[in-house]
């Protein structure tokens, strides 16, 4: 499989992978390594100290513990929403690419329209109507991110279908399912992985934005919710940078790591090599 090779050759992606791994570990072990229970109340608005390395928030909860536990929430929401979006996108792309004709036109029309609709305002509207549960957030994000995967998968299917070896396979009687399994999926796989990674990043950012605006689930601690409270409950006005800087930084680092990994799949060689070596 070519996937590992790309990561191996790309230093940036390696750095990204390491950083991401670190965050995933924190996400999994969050509640174990947190010094306090993030829901427990202490004195409010405390500055960083040895007991509370990042101080406490407006209701006295330990910020560091919130941060550590929040890793799990933010990452899982991102991953789940991305799985939903990419899964649906792959499905639509495959169907459109294979069925062609009316079905293809309809699906692509739908894809184009969803692509043009601005994501955040729609997500805000849906989340406002559906309510602030974390599952709604996942659902709503999944609903807006499937089109680009669908487009990608469809164009890959079309390319593969028109290739010589598939035509011969068809001439020999191969059916759609076989072609999909043997030819389409292996070609589509690396692209889908790359899309998935980048979608996780986008989903994490979307969740953070939603929470920041006040549509997040108050029953969960995500980095986005931390930013929401930090901004809305006086953390920013009072200059409590230890409250609002860490969550944003963590989101940023995760997104950076994911982006580095996702972009690694688009390897870059010098385009002039071809000219010199093939003539």
């Amino acid at each position: 499989m070519r996937l590992p090779a790309f990561i191996m050759q790309n230093r940036a992606a390696q750095v990204g992978a390491v950083v991401l791994l670190a965050f995933v570990v924190v996400a999994v072990l969050g509640s174990v390594i947190a010094p306090h229970d993030p829901w427990a109340h202490f004195g409010p608005f405390e500055s960083p100290s040895s007991v509370h390395p990042l101080g406490t928030n407006d209701v006295g909860q330990d910020i560091l513990s919130e941060l550590l536990v929040g890793a799990g929430v933010s990452l899982s929401v991102g991953a789940l929403a991305a799985m939903l979006a990419v899964g649906f996108g792959v499905f639509v792309g495959l169907v459109a690419g294979f069925r062609r004709g009316v079905v293809d036109n309809l699906l692509m029309g739908l894809t184009d329209i969803v692509l043009v609709i601005p994501a955040l305002p729609l997500v805000i509207l849906l989340a406002a109507y559906l309510g602030s549960s974390i599952w709604n957030v996942v659902l709503v994000i999944g609903v807006v991110f499937w089109p680009s995967t669908a487009r990608l998968v469809r164009s890959q299917v079309l390319t593969v279908r028109q290739s010589g070896y598939v035509e011969s396979a068809r001439a020999l009687g191969a059916g759609d399912a076989w072609i999909m399994r043997r030819h389409v999926l292996p070609n589509v796989f690396p692209l889908v992985i790359s899309k998935f990674v980048l979608t996780v990043a986008a989903a994490m950012l979307m969740e953070a934005s939603l929470s920041f605006l006040g549509l997040g689930d108050p029953m969960v601690k995500s980095w986005g919710m931390m930013l929401h409270y930090a901004f809305g409950r006086g953390g920013f006005i009072q200059g409590l940078w230890w409250w609002y800087l860490p969550p944003g930084l963590c989101i940023g680092l995760c997104i950076l790591a994911l982006t580095l990994i996702g972009l690694a799949f688009e390897g870059e060689s010098d385009p002039r090599l071809r000219r010199a070596l093939e003539r």
Partner: protein, 310 residues
Amino acid sequence: MRYLIALFVIVSLGFILPRLMPGDPLMNIVGEEAYYASGGALDELRSDLGLNQPLIVQYGRYLGGLLIGDWGYSYLYLRPVFESISEHMGWTLLLMLPAVVLGAAIAAVLGGLAAWNRGSRKDAGLTGAFLLAYSMPHYWLAMLVLFVFSFHLGWFPLGKATSGAASSLPYVVDVGWHMLLPLAVVTVFKAAYDFLIVRSSVVSIYGEDYILMAQAKGLSSMAVLFKHALRNALAPLLTVTAIQFGMIFSGTLLIEVVFSWPGMGTLMYDAIGARDYPLLQAAFLIVAICVLIANFVADMLYPKLDPRTR
């Protein structure tokens, strides 16, 4: 054309959603506050708004209302939604449009330079810096910027668009001063995204035969980059700008909240708090329309940049 269909779908969504979503459609249409405030007058309200009539009639009323400027009534601000939106939209556009142009220009120049010096330290530095700017949530960047330059250094005001009701020139200067920081953040936001696109565009253009030709004609490296390479990267940049317009818009809204800039962002922030659905719905509608217009304009401009499509 595609845009008309998309417009139709978006407008219809505005009609369908409140009726589709969980809860009493009446509440979804007038907002939670209004719903609970009207007490026993719910039925009156329902017939006022024509919710007892067949859907087709309701749809007609809805479309008609949109056209004449009746976009609903906001109980949060106690005025028609259309008024609120008109007031706030201007501020958002004031912030966003210059940022889009400036951001694209900065990204084009720096992206081109980075691609041209591929693999060098300049490239690594630029790419690294922009990747970082791209990854950080931009409203968080806004908080950081505001903290450093306003709280700490006191060079800029703490938010809003003006500090006093001056008029003409002093007013313009005042707004400009307030605008500088949020404009900078939105510009960085746009530039960060575009930089990666331009860089990758120029890298692939680098291998084109007409680039070699330009070099063989004796043009300097910078001349080849700016006159030949970047020229051909403009068309894709325009396309990307159009596609990402919605994203830039959304980002601007969030940044506005941090700066208390009186645009659509703060409007939506307050509307969310009060579950003022008419306002949220109208906001969605207007943003979507803007995005459609932007895409349309980009389509019109494209042939000017790429003669092959004329």
